[in-house]
Amino acid sequence: MFSRAAMEAARVARSVPLRARVAAAASAAAGAAAVGGATVLCDDAVHTVEYDWPHSGFLQTFDHAAIRRGWQVYREVCSTCHSIKFVAFRNLIGVSHSEAEVKKIAAEFEVEDGPNDEGEMFERPAKPSDRIPGPYKNEASARAANNGAYPPDLSLVVKGRHLGHHYVMSLLTGYTEAPVGKDLLPGLHYNPYFPGTSISMPPPLMDGQVEYPDGTPATVSQMSKDVTTFLAWCAEPEMDERKRMGMKWCSAMFLGLALSMYYKRFRWSPLKTRKITYHDINR
């Protein structure tokens, strides 16, 4: 739904070249997949399940072992199609991996650098200071490889969806057979948690798809939980520090509040406790 003004605005905005309008129509037709977050308020999806995350409390940090496993799932499964362009390798240091491990992981990726002294761009192994390279050069090549759908960048997916991590977890574990009577366009899959319920992404996880070095059984729900924790960290890498700092700030503010309330009482008590009496001296 739009207000009249919004529709009018969209109309004025669309007084751009026809080519752009065709592109807009094409991207819309290619699947609501690409603009998932933009349709969160639609009523055409099952309401997200709300899980009891181990990192959601006031005093709780991320489960860092899960971030480490989640990175493995992302690396081996999700990164085939999805980027996490705002996250750098160095961000993993001290969070899920040691510095030596991150150097080794980074070296497995190639990034473009340059120009060199001859003016040529060249490929080199990534360093921890590089951002994690995505699977595609640009949006057009991503669409070309994915039947017209654009796999969104995942670095902010948990903040960019209503109910964030609950939604990602529900989506990953929510694939099921389409109900009778639901016609799916070719290349689309049924997921009741996805707005519109037809999603371009095929079910990404299968039991035993990755092999965790720590021996955790790699069930779909386990991998979903781990990768969701990883993505929640990608979206809010500051969360652990934020909550710790929050305890200090809030304590200081509550203390300041208590002291200022005492100070106020101290200053006002003579005025508040004074007694005004009336004596009629003529009586």
Partner: protein, 384 residues
């Protein structure tokens, strides 16, 4: 304080800050004004630090905000402070305005004080809207598109006016760049108006819960009002801290964490919560020009309110009918905000229409009629 009064500058400080006479019966509702000033300071300071790292260019704006959130030392803290600080600024200012409505602070001789405050409020809305565009998320872009397009209502030249605002044929880089500039400029104009507001306040002094002149029951600003304002600052800071550190995104829209995409309109373009009442009024009218004019009227009537007043009593403590009408208006305003979030279908549209009428009814009915009614009833009772 005679020591201070020997110097012309220090005597000004003494007579307006230290020994400034204030009615001793001011309750904590009178602390919202100073808290609002405090919010302005928080916003200007945190904003200045954000501007050191932000790039006002469409290709970089979104990622520069992520750079602030991830790479800048405590950048997330500054940004969350600024984003949630804006919401708290509005919470405090709404409370300040409602306090003025309840205790009749808009009445003679303080009409100009009310008008200067209303002007600050309008500028605040402009600043907040422009600031929300800067992160260049989906809501930023589409919000900017919707709001700037409101100016297309000018007959004949509407489209040209909108393109002039955009600096192009659509919301784009020139728009973002000028919004960044304006977002840095407007707060200083607001700060200037705050001094005008304070100057007008000190002309007649604060109103008070009794709504009468209290020349015999005044206390010095320092330390009496200072300590109360200090308590109010700490209440504000305590609540703000809890939100910043534990619920930093609860007042925002998830769609603004998606980068602006001119080809993908969000399913629901919703403004920030503090604009929802006016947004609800805008969309309840099924006609574009009518909707925009009605929304403009909703703001204009705030300016008109001192002229609509017929009451001779200020404080609603002594105006039983007005007090009921006032609290109905508070409920109506909240419902109006809620109505701005609902889908426009038949059932919600009716509620939206009713509360929109309620909004205007308060200003006209509560100003003109209730004052006259109370006066008539009071004189009738007295004459018996």
């Amino acid at each position: 304080m005679s020591r201070l009064n020997l110097n012309s500058i220090l005597s000004w400080v003494d007579s307006h800050i230290i020994d400034y006479p204030t009615a001793m019966n001011l309750n904590y509702n009178w602390s919202f004004g100073s808290s609002a000033g405090f919010c302005l300071v928080i916003q200007i300071l945190s904003g200045a630090f954000l501007a050191m790292h932000y790039a006002g260019e469409t290709h970089y704006a979104f990622s520069s905000v992520e750079h602030i959130m991830r790479d800048v030392k405590s950048g997330w803290l500054i940004r969350y402070m600024h984003a949630n600080g804006a919401s708290f600024f509005f919470i405090v200012v709404y409370a300040h305005i409602f306090r003025g409505l309840y205790y009749g602070s808009y009445m003679e001789p303080r009409q100009q004080l009310w008008w200067s405050g209303a002007l600050i409020y309008v500028l605040m809305m402009a600043t907040a809207f422009i600031g929300y565009v800067l992160p260049w998320g989906q809501m930023s872009f589409w919000g900017a598109t919707v709001i700037t397009s409101l100016f297309s209502i000018f007959p004949f030249i509407g489209k040209e006016v909108v393109m002039w605002l955009w600096g192009g044929f659509t919301v784009g880089n020139p728009t973002l760049n000028r919004f960044f500039s304006l977002h840095y400029l407007l707060p200083f104009i607001i700060a200037g108006l705050v001094f005008v507001h304070l100057g007008l306040l000190h002309k007649d002094g604060s109103n008070n819960p009794l709504g009468i002149k209290t020349k015999t029951a005044n206390v010095n600003f320092y330390p009496y009002m200072y300590v109360k304002d200090l308590v109010a600052f700490f209440v504000l800071l305590s609540v703000l801290s809890v939100v910043i550190f534990y619920f930093p995104n609860s007042l925002g829209d998830p769609d603004n964490y998606l980068e602006a995409d001119p080809y993908g309109t969000p399913a629901h373009i919703v403004p920030e919560w503090y604009f929802l009442p006016f947004y609800a009024i805008l969309r309840v009218i099924p006609n574009k020009v009518g909707g925009i004019l009605t929304m403009g009227g909703a703001i204009a009537i705030i300016f008109l309110y001192p002229l609509l007043n017929t009451s001779i009593l200020r404080s609603a403590n002594f105006r039983p009918i007005y007090a009921v009408v006032f609290w109905l208006f508070v409920a109506d305003f909240c419902l109006l905000a809620w109505s701005g979030t609902t889908p426009v279908d038949d059932y919600f549209k009716v509620i939206g229409a009713v509360v929109s009428i309620g909004y205007f009814a308060f200003f006209v009915f509560g100003g003109l009629f209730v004052g006259w009614l109370e006066k008539t009833l009071a004189f009738r009772a007295l004459s018996k």
